[in-house]
């Protein structure tokens, strides 16, 4: 059992209430930060802890904060990305529902470090429960002066606004999130200017994931050194992994970075359900698939990247050998087609085309040339889109072609899945 950092307090009864949270050393981290550190020292402290953003890219958090101009002459903002919509990901929901105050404490620490007086929590529209809990938590925290004006007697003030999105996947992309928050269409924006310089309402903005911010209180309480002792050389600390798919015990598991996939699936998840392991998607729907050969790959940013996939949002999806990979690809791509924002051409038209081809193949009308067509369409999307959504839509197909080409071939030549055996070719 590895050390718990984020979910340590999760099992305590009533932890979503402020009294219980404070009893369990809640807001200690904030107090420490306000009393013992100047904002600059705090940023250095977080840098020293080696904390990296948990949103997907794994960018060092302290470094991100240090990019924000000190005195821009404009307000600065924090946006908490709680628009958790990557298929397979469910960690933010638990953190918001069970540990809302831990998130608020993290927000306060971050805002103090960067000098922000206004924070927004952009919560996914579907998470109504989480929204209500957060609203209540903010109210409680303001009453106890953990938020609001002159927090704990200092001259640091912070206002937190919880904003519900409308359930668009693209709004998890940071610049689209900002657009949506401003009341515009959820279209990603041009970078540069980066949000740290010109973000929300053209002001410097920090955008952090819920998990990143929820880690901060523990780091403050227990020390940066303690945190950096966890995990691997370059990926410090722990991470909440969302295990789903064909496993016996799906759920959120907090593991030290560096734990292997085998550990997660077999020890935590209780093994693969209903058959042998066929493929693993290690970082949410936008990550390329891996196979059972990669079971011993560690679940940290570098190791997964080295294996040809990405750690992404930490959603590990397990696929057993009774599953048709082509249908899986279709399912995933239907998601991306549905969620494409329509701004740029390759993603808007390409995802639709991929879905059309896969639908036709799955329905028995594949042609041999469809294999090359699929590859070509994926290649044409890849790298040509405005934001990474288009690339994500191709990753499952490209990795499936790498590891399971025969499944596509079978559909193309026999009009059915390889699992169904060879059928007579549908004639028309």
């Amino acid at each position: 059992m590895s050390t718990l950092v984020i979910t340590e307090l999760m099992d305590i009864e009533g932890i979503d209430g402020i009294d219980t949270y404070v009893k369990n050393k809640g807001y200690e981290g904030l107090k420490k930060a306000l009393k013992e550190y100047t904002p600059d020292e705090l940023i250095e402290y977080v840098k020293a802890s080696g904390l990296r953003g948990r949103g997907g890219a794994g960018f060092p958090t302290g470094l991100k904060w240090s990019f924000v101009p000190k005195n821009p002459g404009k307000p600065k903002y924090l946006c908490v990305n709680c628009d958790e919509s990557e298929p397979g990901t469910c960690k933010d929901r638990d953190m918001v529902t069970y540990l809302p105050h831990q998130l608020l404490e993290g927000i306060a620490i971050c805002c103090y470090a960067v000098g922000i007086n206004q924070a927004f929590i952009y919560i996914r529209g579907e998470m109504l429960e989480g929204y209500e809990i957060l609203e209540k938590a903010v109210e409680e925290a303001v009453q106890r002066n953990f938020l609001g004006d002159n927090i704990l007697g200092t001259d640091f003030s912070l206002d937190v606004v919880v904003h519900r999105g409308a359930g668009a996947y693209i709004c998890g992309e940071e610049s689209a999130l900002l657009s949506s928050l401003e009341g515009e269409r959820g279209f990603p924006r041009l970078k540069p200017p980066f949000p740290a310089v010109e973000g929300l309402y053209a002001c410097p903005t920090v955008i952090n994931n819920v998990e990143t911010l929820s880690t901060l209180p523990a780091i403050m309480r227990k020390g940066a050194e303690w945190y950096s002792s966890l995990g691997t050389e370059r990926s410090k600390g722990t991470r909440v992994l969302c295990l789903s798919g064909h496993v016996n015990k799906p759920g959120n598991y907090e593991l030290e970075l560096g734990a292997s996939m085998r550990h997660l699936i077999e020890e935590c998840g209780g093994g693969v359900m209903g058959g042998e392991l066929k493929a693993i998607i290690p970082g949410g729907a936008s990550a390329p698939m891996l196979t059972k050969e990669h079971l011993d790959v560690a679940l940290d940013f570098e190791a997964i990247a080295a294996a040809g996939s990405m750690a992404g949002s930490g959603a590990v999806i397990v696929i057993n050998d009774k599953t048709c990979i082509v249908k899986t690809c279709l399912n995933l791509d239907q998601f991306f087609e549905e969620e494409s924002c329509g701004k740029c051409t390759p993603c808007r038209e390409g995802t639709k085309w991929l879905v059309d081809i896969l639908t036709r193949m799955v329905n028995g009308h594949g042609r041999p040339e469809d294999i090359d067509l699929l590859k070509s369409v994926c290649n044409n999307i890849l790298g040509n889109t405005f934001c990474p959504l288009g690339d994500s839509a191709t990753s499952c197909i490209m990795s499936a072609f790498k590891y399971f080409p025969e499944e596509f071939e079978h559909y193309a030549h026999h009009g059915c899945s390889i699992l169904e055996g060879k059928k007579e070719m549908a004639k028309s």
Binding site: H365, R367, P368, S428
Partner: protein, 207 residues
């Protein structure tokens, strides 16, 4: 001596052609009582074609007018009345005039036509007493109501290849009611085993 023999052979050859033709029927036709067969691809007067349902093929795109090297075609297009369409599509030719005195019968118009609406047919007997009689209006050029031909198009327009490796319903346009062919004709969401993934949009929802 050799030379005499060569001359005689040459003479014989020449005379043989003369006698051969002497014995054949004359090629002269007693026009106009007799009419000669015209090659299938000969280019005579223009004809505007119709679809089987009687709608005009011409959509008034003005490509023939644009390509005409002699400036013999004049067209005015108009929007189709949705209730009583003249052609398929959004527009049709309100005015379609061909000046046969200007036309040089090059056939560019039939090549340019995207709907195979205009062809040059085998009517080559074109004469008139006035200039006006040789200015053809749309009424003169159109096939009579009820007839629907492609004209000479079939003799020069190459057909699409038939040897496609795997003819899919999208190409044959067939829908046999199965979910597979439904997908191929663009209605993959009609799978009967599952509930529809999302409500299908109706055309003109926001119209």
């Amino acid at each position: 001596m050799d030379r005499v023999i060569d001359d005689l052979i040459a003479l014989g050859k020449g005379l043989s052609i003369t006698f051969k033709n002497y014995l054949e029927k004359p090629v002269t036709k007693q026009y106009p009582e007799e009419k000669r067969d015209i090659p299938k691809r000969a280019r005579g007067r223009h004809v505007l074609h119709r679809y089987n349902d009687g709608l005009e093929r011409c959509v008034g795109c003005l490509l023939c007018q644009g390509t005409c090297p002699a400036g013999a075609i004049y067209i005015e297009a108009e929007e189709n009345d949705k209730e009583n369409p003249v052609s398929k599509g959004e527009r049709h030719a309100k005015v379609f005039d061909v000046d046969l005195l200007r036309c040089i019968y090059c056939g560019h118009c039939e090549m340019a036509c995207p709907t195979n609406a205009i062809t040059l047919e085998n009517n080559t007997a074109l004469a008139g007493f006035t200039r006006e009689s040789l200015l053809m209006h749309k009424e003169d050029l159109l096939e009579p109501e009820g007839s629907s031909t492609l004209g000479t198009t079939e003799y020069w327009d190459p057909k699409p290849p038939e040897d496609l490796s795997h003819r899919v319903p999208a190409q044959t346009g067939e829908f046999d009611g199965s979910s597979t062919s439904a997908a191929a004709v663009g209605r993959g969401d009609l799978d009967l085993n599952k509930a529809p993934k999302k409500p299908t949009r109706k055309e003109g929802d926001n119209a």
